[in-house]
């Protein structure tokens, strides 16, 4: 087990392993997306209250979930990097930031597209929308900070501290629907034991969740591979790889 983590922390081993994983993850992601979208858009019945327009939820909710998942994942990896000084953890954090920001942006856009017919407004200053917007600012702040610091090692550590400090906001976003009674509807999927969604809607939803998750891991690994190559461009194995 330890040996595996030890090997994983070496850039070359990671590069090779990620290269093997990416096609599999990508294929699975495509299957999950296609079947999820088909089931969600054509098979699942219309909602009894919201009619057809609820279908945007199959994109909106998974991307909202991903926006928080990516941040939490970044926080854990930042802690690993700060404590054990593992460069690869930082590679993953840095490759994740732009993806997390785009998931957050997608959430805000789909949410506002959904909000217009449902609430009659593109944007409402309620707790969940506002905290999601703050999450976007946190991502952008991280990106701005690491690109402002030239030395990659101190950029990694400074960014890591910022990510960890900002992690305080994640529970605030998560519980915002329960703490404040606002316009945004309460949680549906996570009511443990008794989900208030019918099976015909639940299945495409879960497929979309899987699709988003797989998409993230596929793209983050591709980005991380590029980042590793760039950082290790002076090392022997990269030179050998490109036949110099």
């Amino acid at each position: 087990m330890w040996l595996f983590f030890h090997k994983l922390a070496s850039p070359k081993y990671f590069y090779d392993l990620a290269g093997k994983f990416i096609p599999w993850l990508g294929t699975l992601c495509l299957i999950a997306f296609l079947s999820g979208l088909y089931q969600g858009l054509f098979v699942a019945p219309p909602d009894y209250q919201q009619g057809e327009s609820y279908r945007i939820l199959f994109v909106h909710v998974p991307s909202a979930w991903m926006s928080m998942f990516v941040y939490t994942f970044m926080a854990v990896l930042s802690a690993i990097n700060l404590i054990w000084n593992i460069k690869l953890a930082d590679v993953m954090v840095r490759s994740s930031a732009a993806l997390g920001a785009s998931f957050t942006f997608l959430t805000l856009v789909t949410g506002s597209l959904w909000g217009k017919p449902m609430w009659g407004a593109w944007w409402v200053w309620d707790a969940r929308l506002t905290s999601e917007l703050i999450l976007l600012f946190l991502y952008l702040g991280y990106i701005a900070l690491v690109s402002a610091i030239e030395d990659p090692r101190s950029a990694a550590r400074a960014g890591g501290v910022l990510i960890l400090v900002g992690a305080v906001n994640i529970p605030i976003i998560h519980y915002s629907v329960e703490w404040w009674s606002t316009l945004h509807q309460g949680p549906t999927l996570t009511k443990i034991g008794k989900p208030s969604v019918h099976v015909s809607m639940l299945i495409p939803w879960l497929l979309m969740f899987a699709g988003f998750q797989l998409y993230y891991f596929t793209v983050v690994l591709i980005r991380a591979r590029t980042e590793v190559l760039e950082r290790e461009r002076r090392s022997a194995w990269v030179q050998e790889l490109f036949g110099k």
């Binding site: 703050i134 400074a158 305080v168």
Partner: protein
Amino acid sequence: MNGLFTACSALLKRDLMLAFRHRGELANPLLFFLMIVTLFPLGVSPEAELLRRIAPGVIWIGALLAALFSLESLFRGDFEDGALEQMLLSPHPLSALVLAKVLAHWLVSGLPMLLLAPLLGLLLAMPTTGIQTMEITLALGTPLLSLIGAIGVALTVGLKRGGILLTLLILPLYIPVLIFATNAVTAAAAGLPVEGQFYFLAALLALALTLAPVAIAASLRISVS
């Protein structure tokens, strides 16, 4: 333990003395605070009813921005003349030393704002209960602004143009404080209970008092090395 206390109080005294030697700079954030608040009646409307409603938000946003501007120089001077490196090298825990510095910053920026705020409340036609609640939220909130802000300052102190970046880093972290504080003042004006918001602010303050010094110290080590 005794040595640590001496070191912290020496640092606190030094920072306070430095601040009082530059009395002009001391007044700048306060004037800034006063001017931001003055702009609202001129820019939005001088109507008392409207001003009363937006007053908590206006005063709090003014405090937020004033804190941001006064924070920028928190570690700058020490970084430039090498005092910061001495602090890093000292045998005392850095987190305790930075706590002393943050306390000094709050005493010269947060506390005066606290004293000026009732006057601004009167200017914006706030009712007495609203002003009282606002004072409590400011008393709980301005130390939070100094503590959270210092993390951002510590992260950007090594950079040449840290000013705008600092805004980008800190303001998102300030938003929860702003929300709970203004919510309390609005609730008080409507005659609703406000203990819940006070507890939230107090909890955030306790969290920041214990964790922020560690984060500030870590950030300083990163920035200086």
